[in-house]
């Protein structure tokens, strides 16, 4: 276990009743069950728990109760977005551009700084294109990166065991990993690569500019297959705080990436709601798997572990808006390619250390 900085959230007591408690890692799938957190630690999970004196009780109304999510690959530290998206633990390392000393002490997620947390980017330094080489890049006059850029990297620099490798984005790259059958290797991906394809950049939509660039829908399907069969072991947000100024530049100069922490869980629920995948195989990718890799106690629902849980309505229909601080859907606030996408499912409550830190109104 690594050193933990003081948590900005005070330890709290809370009893959540009538919840659908779900955690495949612990074999939990209990409907109408209760979960008790005392002093910031999960005390008990059972079908009925009597509220101890003075403990706040909330009725989950049958919604899903999941362990708080863990995000181990992001560019910008954005605590409010993380809480909005049900992310309760952020893991930083060398590859993240942020410096943990500069973080504001706001009521935010747990922050873990691992000295040896390093992510290998599966792309050669010589690849400088803006889009995937092919018809779309040709028509738009954008420099393309080779279709087999990811596979070439894997062949040239076979990754070492216990390396975090990602974001993986191509069908053939993932297929190559699948055949390597290296258990120590941990591949990760970002939500952009299973929710968008290269057509999102048509019309020079800089919001959909990513590096590595978005690929064909064939590759997107390949990423979903890899999520289902365990080739990809971790999903991280790749969160980049973008503003209108970053994105209202010519395509080549615009900032790459999207604010993804708010929508990460919703995009996973899109896969379950459309039948492309199921929560049994997806939930460990954002909870138990990163927790095990970084040797963290959270990420599971078990008595004695930190009281970080989220309440999720898996089918609530709404339209995504990454810039949650804005109430209106004004054109200039739209900085994420997923904005205004009609989706189902959202986080309705984020609880860290037994303390409610976010509540969807």
């Amino acid at each position: 276990m690594t050193e933990q900085p003081p948590l900005p959230v005070p330890a709290g007591n809370i009893l959540i009743t009538n919840a659908h408690i779900f955690d495949p890692a612990e074999g939990l799938d209990m409907k109408g069950a209760d979960l008790l957190i005392i002093d910031g630690v999960i005390r008990d999970i059972a079908l009925t728990i009597d509220a101890p004196l003075g403990v706040e009780t909330i009725n989950a109304k049958g919604h899903l109760l999941l362990p708080g999510l863990i995000d181990c690959d992001f560019v910008d530290y954005d605590p409010i977005s993380a809480l909005y998206g049900g992310i309760t633990t952020l893991v930083t390392g060398k590859n993240t551009a942020t410096n943990s000393d500069n973080y504001d002490q706001v009521m935010g997620p747990r922050l873990h700084c691992h000295a040896n947390h390093q992510i290998e980017r599966p792309i050669l330094a010589s690849e400088t294109g803006l889009a995937l080489a092919g018809d779309t890049a040709n028509r738009m006059g954008l420099e393309g990166i080779a279709v087999d850029a990811e596979t070439n990297f894997l062949k040239q620099f076979p990754p070492k065991a216990t390396t975090l490798l990602g974001p993986m984005s191509s069908y053939f790259g993932l297929d190559h990993l699948r055949h390597m059958q290296d258990d120590g290797l941990i591949a990760l991906t970002h939500p952009a690569y299973f929710s968008l394809n290269e057509l999102a950049i048509v019309g020079y939509d800089t919001r959909a500019k990513f590096f590595p660039p978005l690929r064909l829908d064939f590759d997107r399907q390949g990423v979903i297959d890899a999520l289902n069969d365990g080739t990809i072991k971790i999903i991280a947000s790749g969160h980049v705080k973008t503003t209108r100024d970053d994105k209202s530049l010519p395509f080549a100069q615009a900032k790459a990436g999207m604010p993804a922490q708010t929508s990460m869980l919703t995009m996973l629920l899109e896969l379950t709601n459309t039948g492309a995948s199921d929560l049994n195989s997806l939930l460990p990718l954002v909870t138990t798997n990163p927790a095990n890799h970084f040797d963290l106690p959270q990420g599971r629902l078990k008595a004695g572990t930190p009281g970080d849980v989220i309440l999720v309505d898996p089918t609530k229909p709404h339209r995504l808006l990454a810039n949650h601080s804005r109430q209106g859907h004004r054109q200039e606030d739209i900085v994420c390619p997923l904005d205004r996408r009609p989706v189902q499912g959202c986080v309705i409550k984020t609880i860290i250390n037994g303390h409610t830190v976010f509540e969807r109104t």
């Binding site: 092919g134 018809d135 890049a137 006059g141 954008l142 420099e143 209202s248 010519p250």
Partner: protein, 342 residues
């Protein structure tokens, strides 16, 4: 005429008109607010611009070449990339139509002082121009700026994306020389990968029913270019056979020198247009070049200066006419409004 008779004729593009999509006869034939790209343009709108340009080509051959059509309208040429001939061509086109024309290039603007591109453009928009001609070194920049401007925008070239007025003037040159575009085999040779002229020409020639081929070294032809509707050849000997028009592209010397397997000498040896190579093309084939030319690299002087087969100076002449047609078409609604209120 019976159906059997029809099968012997190649259908003209207008035979494919669909009632619900295309305007009824007599309706407005050009309904675009901007002229940003050839891709996606209605062939009828292209035809309309070519007809107009044809008229201006004759108009420009009169001793007095001035029209009061655009009197009172303002045109701003914003060139964020160096250019002399295109800027001059737009300048003359606007002035011949009677517009007030102002030009600036990036070196004279406040972009150098750190102002963002969008701010510069909105500042100029506040001066209430009626037509803005934009050139920028990044693909897509012109289309992005068009969203923030209230007047008609003409794309004078954006990065490696499109150069639509060049395609229009090339089509006009072909039409005036050959009488038609439909059915011709047009071969574009050179650096297809980095050429906006090639992209616009591929779209326009395909829309007008020509057969388009591209020739170039493998490293300068992008993957999947055939999906844009072209036939790909890697040697001049194969590609030129059966061509009616040979369109050479300007080669940037740095680009050739950056490719390990190529040198300027080998480029000229394999892909330069010499009189002997031109003889492989169809009899009476014409040669075009958007300029400026690298004599002795992509084109031999013998070919470039051939008075019968080279259309290069005609292209420059048609450039003014084609640009006048676009300015005319884009200012049509404003002029109609002005006529109504007076």
């Amino acid at each position: 005429m019976s159906d059997a008779d029809n099968t012997t004729q190649t259908p003209h593009f207008s035979d494919y008109r669909r009632a619900m999509v295309d305007p009824a006869d007599g309706g407005p034939k050009f309904r675009q607010k901007h002229f940003l790209a050839i891709e996606g343009m209605d062939p009828i709108a292209i035809q309309y611009l070519l007809d107009k340009a044809d008229h201006y080509a004759d108009f420009n051959r009169q001793p007095l070449k001035h029209s009061d059509l655009g009197r009172g309208l303002t045109q701003i040429n914003m060139f964020f990339e160096n250019s002399t001939r295109t800027l001059m061509s737009f300048d003359i086109a606007g002035k011949r139509l009677g517009l007030n024309v102002s030009s600036f290039t990036a070196s004279t603007s406040s972009l150098k002082k750190g102002e963002t591109l969008l701010d510069t453009t909105t500042t100029l928009d506040a001066m209430r121009p009626d037509v803005v001609v934009l050139r920028h070194s990044e693909s897509g920049a012109v289309a992005q700026l068009a969203e923030h401007l209230n007047c008609g925008i003409i794309n004078a070239g954006d990065g490696t994306h499109e150069h639509p007025t060049q395609a229009l003037l090339d089509a006009l040159t072909i039409r005036r020389t050959r009488g038609h575009i439909h059915g011709l085999t047009v071969t574009i040779c050179g650096d297809i990968k980095h050429s906006r002229v090639a992209r616009s020409n591929i779209h326009l020639l395909n829309a007008m029913g020509a057969k388009v081929r591209v020739i170039g070294p493998e490293s300068l032809i992008p993957d999947e270019i055939d999906r844009m509707g072209v036939e790909v050849f890697y040697t001049m000997e194969e590609g030129l056979k059966g061509s009616d028009i040979v369109m050479m592209l300007r080669i940037q010397k740095e680009r050739i020198e950056n490719i390990n397997s190529l040198s300027l000498d080998t480029y000229h040896k394999h892909w330069g247009l010499t009189p002997e190579r031109l003889n492989l093309a169809n009899e009476g084939a014409h040669v075009m070049h958007p300029g400026p030319m690298n004599r002795g690299l992509e084109i031999a002087s013998m070919v470039a200066d051939d008075p019968v087969r080279s259309l290069i100076t005609l292209q420059v002449e048609m450039g003014v006419a084609a640009r006048m047609a676009v300015i005319d078409a884009l200012t049509e609604p404003t002029r109609a409004l002005a006529a109504q209120s007076s």
